[in-house]
């Protein structure tokens, strides 16, 4: 007579297992979403930072005794004498008018208004000029000129990026903590529901590590399925959002979303991060289940063998 393939020692599926799988899927989805969101904000902030730190701006306020065009040329030439500057561009009247058009409307004549003028200097990011010397030299030569090296903006962006990363890390920690606690309760529930199996294994001479390994296998299957589903959904979300963004380029909605969140593309590294999150969640769940089982079996053994503990009497 043929023997059927050997069944697992723990009953393979029950409602508790399915519920735990759904919880792990949701946790994995949230963890991947957080991870992807943080990496998106970081890369957006980094790109802003590099764009801003590539340029500095000299602003010259109009004055009755000042020949603006001459001052603009002088300021540009002065700045370009410094090592670390690459090129200088005077923002002409037409470009300045275009900058102000959203507020003051078209057809603006700059001669009627005391509007400051700008000189944009491109700098070498790896070898920036000495901003303090440039600032004081400009102040001496043209008192109406001020130098803006965008440091305030860069500092704010860096601090925003750091805060975002910290918030994201906090959320990830909360998600992982909630998951570990859920798994602890689920493992204890599973042990309680399979107490008869644990008792039988005890009577046939199973060591605690064997019982723990059986539960560990059980939870590894559940957590791998759960985290794979959650991570796949998160990857699908990023892929769909990226696809939607690429299909609707240059529309006001996409421009707003891009300004707020950057591009939804998480790249190969992002998908690798999602995959790593899936593995971490599966391992964390399995490890938690093993520790919980070992501790619970120790408690059961202690209660079972100690006749002074009437709360643990087992037949």
């Amino acid at each position: 007579m043929r023997v059927r393939p050997t069944a697992p020692i723990l009953p393979p599926s029950n409602i508790q297992g399915s519920a735990l799988m759904v919880v792990i899927s949701i946790m994995a989805f949230l963890a991947c979403l957080t991870l992807g969101g943080v990496s998106m904000v970081r890369s957006t902030a980094a790109s802003w930072e590099s764009q801003i730190s590539r340029e500095i701006t000299i602003q010259i306020k109009p004055d009755d005794n000042l020949d603006m065009e001459k001052a603009l040329t002088q300021a540009r030439d002065l700045a370009l004498t410094f090592v670390g500057t690459k090129s200088g561009q005077i923002v002409d009247e037409a470009a300045t008018a275009r900058l102000l058009e959203p507020w003051l409307g078209p057809g603006l004549d700059l001669k009627d208004l005391p509007v400051p003028r700008l000189v944009i200097i491109t700098i070498d990011e790896s070898n920036p000029p000495d901003f303090d010397s440039m600032r004081s030299l400009l102040k001496d030569s043209i008192p109406q000129a001020t130098l803006d090296d965008h440091r305030t903006w860069v500092d704010r962006l860096v601090s925003m990026a750091h805060t975002t990363v910290m918030i994201g890390t906090g959320i990830l920690l909360l998600v992982f903590t909630a998951m570990v606690l859920t798994v602890v309760f689920a493992t204890r529930g599973a042990l309680s529901g399979n107490r008869h199996v644990v008792e039988v294994l005890h009577f046939v001479g199973a060591e605690s590590s064997f019982v723990a390994t059986e539960f560990q296998k059980h939870f590894l299957k559940i957590s791998l399925k759960g985290s794979a589903i959650g991570s796949a959904l998160a990857a699908l979300f990023f892929a769909s959002a990226g696809f939607w963004q690429s299909r609707t380029l240059a529309t006001p909605e996409t421009d707003q979303a891009t300004a707020l969140f950057g591009t939804f593309s998480v790249g190969v590294l992002g998908y690798a991060g999602i995959f790593a999150t899936m593995i971490v969640i599966a391992l964390l769940t399995t490890f938690t289940a093993r520790l919980t089982v070992m501790r619970t079996i120790y408690e059961i053994d202690t209660l079972r063998s100690d006749p002074t503990r009437t709360d643990g009497i087992a037949s």
Binding site: V3, T6, F203, G205, R304, S305, P307, T310
Partner: protein, 219 residues
């Protein structure tokens, strides 16, 4: 092989239910453990299985004082003892074959190394045609034989049976008794806890009678 000396047991702050038990279970011996309900037969079996610690006295199992054995080593020592329960304790999601093979599976043995032995043992206990059947489908006698086969699977030196005929009819009880006797002839010490007088009358064997916490032995 097993030695009890002045062993006492109480649960919690209750009265001592086993008092000053001193006896030996010699190798290849056969004995009945009997007494009225609630006399402590199951507790004594649990002490013999090292599943319970005595509140006082000395228990030596296979030459070792069990109070000095580290907890992780106890399962290894328990493997030298087989145990059968009145309520069988078979796992309902495993087939007869898988239930009987369980002791070898928990020892990490490969199925190919024990499959033939399990099938032979199942034939020996009369379950050769029921290997793929789940316990809920088995009769009481078949379940008890499966439980006995599981207890014997790893050739224990002692077999403890707690009311093994409690859930079967007299013909099946006699058949099970013959199974225990045959096993004893093959070299396993057997302790059968029962209050079935008819069963005990069928065999001339040592009787250990528990009453009022004391143990009297009639060889």
């Amino acid at each position: 092989m097993i030695h009890f000396e002045n062993v006492g047991l109480r649960y919690g702050m209750g009265p001592e239910i086993l008092r000053d038990l001193t006896f030996d279970i010699p190798k290849k011996s056969f004995q009945f453990l009997t007494g009225p309900s609630g006399a402590g037969k199951t507790s004594l079996l649990r002490l013999l299985f090292m599943s319970l610690q005595p509140t006082r006295g000395l228990i030596r199992m296979f030459g070792r004082d069990i109070s000095e054995i580290p907890r992780p080593e106890l399962p290894l020592l328990r493997r030298r003892v087989g145990i059968v329960f009145q309520d069988f304790r078979l796992l309902d999601h495993l087939t007869t074959y898988e239930n009987v093979a369980l002791p070898l599976r928990v020892r990490g043995k490969d199925e190919s190394s024990y499959k033939t032995d399990v099938l032979e043992l199942l034939k020996w206990v009369g379950l050769g045609e029921r290997i793929n059947v789940l316990p809920p489908v088995l009769s009481g006698g078949e379940k008890q034989r499966a439980a006995i086969a599981r207890a014997l699977m790893d050739r224990p030196e002692v077999l403890l049976a707690d009311e093994p005929t409690g859930n079967v009819d007299p013909p099946m009880a006699k058949r099970l008794l013959n199974l225990f006797l045959e096993l004893n002839r093959l070299g396993t010490a057997v302790v059968i806890a029962t209050h079935d007088l008819a069963l005990m009358e069928q065999v001339e064997a040592r009787r250990m009678i528990l009453s009022g916490g004391h143990l009297d032995i009639y060889d």
